[in-house]
């Protein structure tokens, strides 16, 4: 169940997308997200879906892996859908029953917003599935480094991100273990009403927080013991280089933006 969360997990295969420069991937992911918001008609979803399928293909990612990333979002998705469905003002009434009214506009915007959410998460998943966390934060740090001149903590931010990303699987594993340990003592995480379920989380969350803090303390100590003192003067093992593939990917993404703008 917890293993379903793919956000932040790296999928270790070789592919065109995996080989791209992380900086290019980050920028192109942002461009992709902008494209998702540019399209207002439902038809704009067609090039986006095609783009996602093509990317998944080029990245050697099974579609199942991407769908798994959406699964934990289902509650938010349903919420978004329902809110938009019932609370969007409009003229063309499709269904009217008592005080509930579903309009054409409402239905359209419900579909639009849910699709956008799915696309955004898929885009972010592709980025993290195909980029090792270290490369990802490395790229991010480089992209933000111009801002460091005006005092923006680019290195610190990147370091915090890479540590956070690095620990997502660890914490999930830990959560899984604690959950099992409590289940072995008869805990029940799956049934009951909302309040009962929230209460059932206490035996999971307390040990998880305790261990997260312990890990954080240990890690800080270990980093200091190895003379970590922030970003100043640190050199890198791998120097990032943009190449022909990055250009191809950029062209592909531009084509997507153009298609979305054309469709409107």
């Amino acid at each position: 169940m917890l293993k379903d969360i793919t956000l932040g997990q790296y999928y270790p295969v070789e592919s065109f997308v995996h080989s791209l420069d992380p900086r290019a991937k980050i920028v192109l992911t942002i461009v992709f997200m902008v494209a998702v918001f540019l399209g207002s008609s439902l038809f704009a979803a067609i090039p986006i879906v095609l783009f996602i399928l093509l990317t998944a293909r080029l990245a050697n990612l099974p579609i199942k892996m991407l769908l798994k990333g959406i699964k934990p979002l289902r509650i938010i998705l349903i919420f978004t859908f329902v809110l938009n469905l019932f609370f969007t003002a409009g003229d063309t009434i499709l269904v009217e029953w008592w005080k509930i009214r579903i309009t054409r506009e409402g239905l359209m915007s419900a579909v639009r917003f849910s699709l956008r959410l799915v696309f955004l998460v898929t885009g972010a998943s592709v980025l993290t599935l195909t980029t090792q966390p270290v490369a990802l934060t490395d790229g991010l740090e480089r992209l933000l480094s111009p801002l460091a001149k005006i005092g923006f903590p680019a290195h610190e931010l990147a370091m915090m991100m890479s540590i956070a990303l690095r620990f997502i699987p660890t914490l999930l594993e830990e959560a899984d273990k604690i959950m099992k340990a409590q289940m072995a003592r008869g805990a029940d995480f799956e049934s009951g009403n909302l309040i009962q379920r929230a209460k059932a989380m206490v035996p999971l969350l307390v040990p998880l927080f305790v261990s997260a803090f312990r890990r954080a303390g240990d890690l800080a100590m270990a980093m200091e013991a190895r003379c970590y003192h922030g970003g100043r003067g640190r050199t890198r093992l791998r120097i990032l280089k943009l190449g022909k593939n990055d250009l191809l990917a950029a062209l592909g993404t531009c084509a997507l933006v153009a298609a979305v703008i054309l469709i409107g």
Binding site: K177, I178, Q182, R185, A187, L205, P207
Partner: protein, 284 residues
């Protein structure tokens, strides 16, 4: 209540690049009254096997029968099963969460539906079995030492009064005194009638208290027998990266030095064997 494991295999995350075959074709039975030691190199699948015994993991192939019933069958009450087969996880001290030791031990029995007088008796009985100072009961578990926390966790499982108790490396990371005390507690639980599956890397303890030993190697059951049978195959164990008990090591050294002694599992036994070989009366 025997636990019968039938041609059981387990693969983690099948169908992904993270796939790993943790167990392959495991087939043996844990009988009532056994103190079965499960030994094997790190990563050999001991913890995975342990989690199959109370249905926390489902076999990819094969079956696990508790009391003749397939525990992954449709109409099995998992909660009732987990009460009958208690499992103490590795580094169990990290599962404590309540404000007081008392409340933490009460968590399991409470989930079983106990309350009031009955619950109180259960908690106190379990607490008594792990030999902690009485004032610990009202302390916060987070104030205790790691070894004490581990015993509280053990009490939390014992409080459910399981018929079979599975202990995953209960003494790992403890100091020698804590280790001996906990081993003694486990031995006492066994003598009290609980069937025990003990995962351990400490061969001296295994030799001393186990009635049976199962050796796992890379997900397969490599050996199964009495401690004497298993430890007499010391060379094979060492080839798997496992230790043999110190007494056995000493017996071998003595034989190499020309003193004919059989393999001994405890200090007393060894003492008698040496006396017999030397022809002096033993007082052990």
């Amino acid at each position: 209540m025997p636990i019968k494991i039938e041609h059981m295999s387990h693969t983690y995350q099948p169908g992904t690049p993270f796939k790993s075959d943790a167990l392959e074709d495991i087939d043996f039975t844990i009988e009532d009254g056994d103190l079965l030691a499960l030994i094997g190199h790190t990563g050999s699948g001991k913890s995975t096997l342990a989690q199959h015994l109370n249905g926390l993991l489902t076999p990819t192939a094969g079956r696990v029968l508790v009391d003749g019933q397939d525990i992954n069958g449709k109409d099995v009450n998992r909660r009732a099963l987990r009460q009958r087969v208690g499992l103490l996880f590795q580094y169990a001290e990290y599962q404590l969460f309540e404000e007081t030791v008392y409340k933490d031990i009460a968590f399991g029995p409470k989930n079983q539906g106990l309350s009031g007088e009955k619950l109180d008796r259960r908690v106190r009985a379990a607490f008594d079995k792990v030999h902690l100072p009485p004032e610990t009961l009202e302390k916060s578990p987070f104030e205790l030492s790691g070894g004490q926390m581990r015993r509280v966790a053990l009490a939390g499982v014992v409080a459910m009064e399981p018929e079979v108790l599975v202990l995953d490396e209960p003494i790992a990371g403890l100091d020698p005194k804590g280790r001996d005390e906990l081993t003694e507690i486990i031995h006492e639980l066994h003598r009290g009638g609980v069937t025990i599956v003990l995962i351990s890397h400490n061969m001296d303890d295994v030799a001393r208290i186990a009635t049976k030993v199962a050796v796992l190697e890379r997900g397969r059951l490599a050996m199964l027998g009495t401690p004497r049978e298993i430890f007499s195959r010391g060379d094979e164990l060492e080839a798997m990266g496992l230790d043999v008990p110190q007494t056995i090591q000493l017996c071998r050294a003595l034989r190499a030095g020309g003193l004919e002694v059989p393999d001994c599992l405890t200090g007393e036994e060894l003492c008698e064997a040496i006396c017999a070989a030397k022809g002096v009366p033993s007082h052990a």
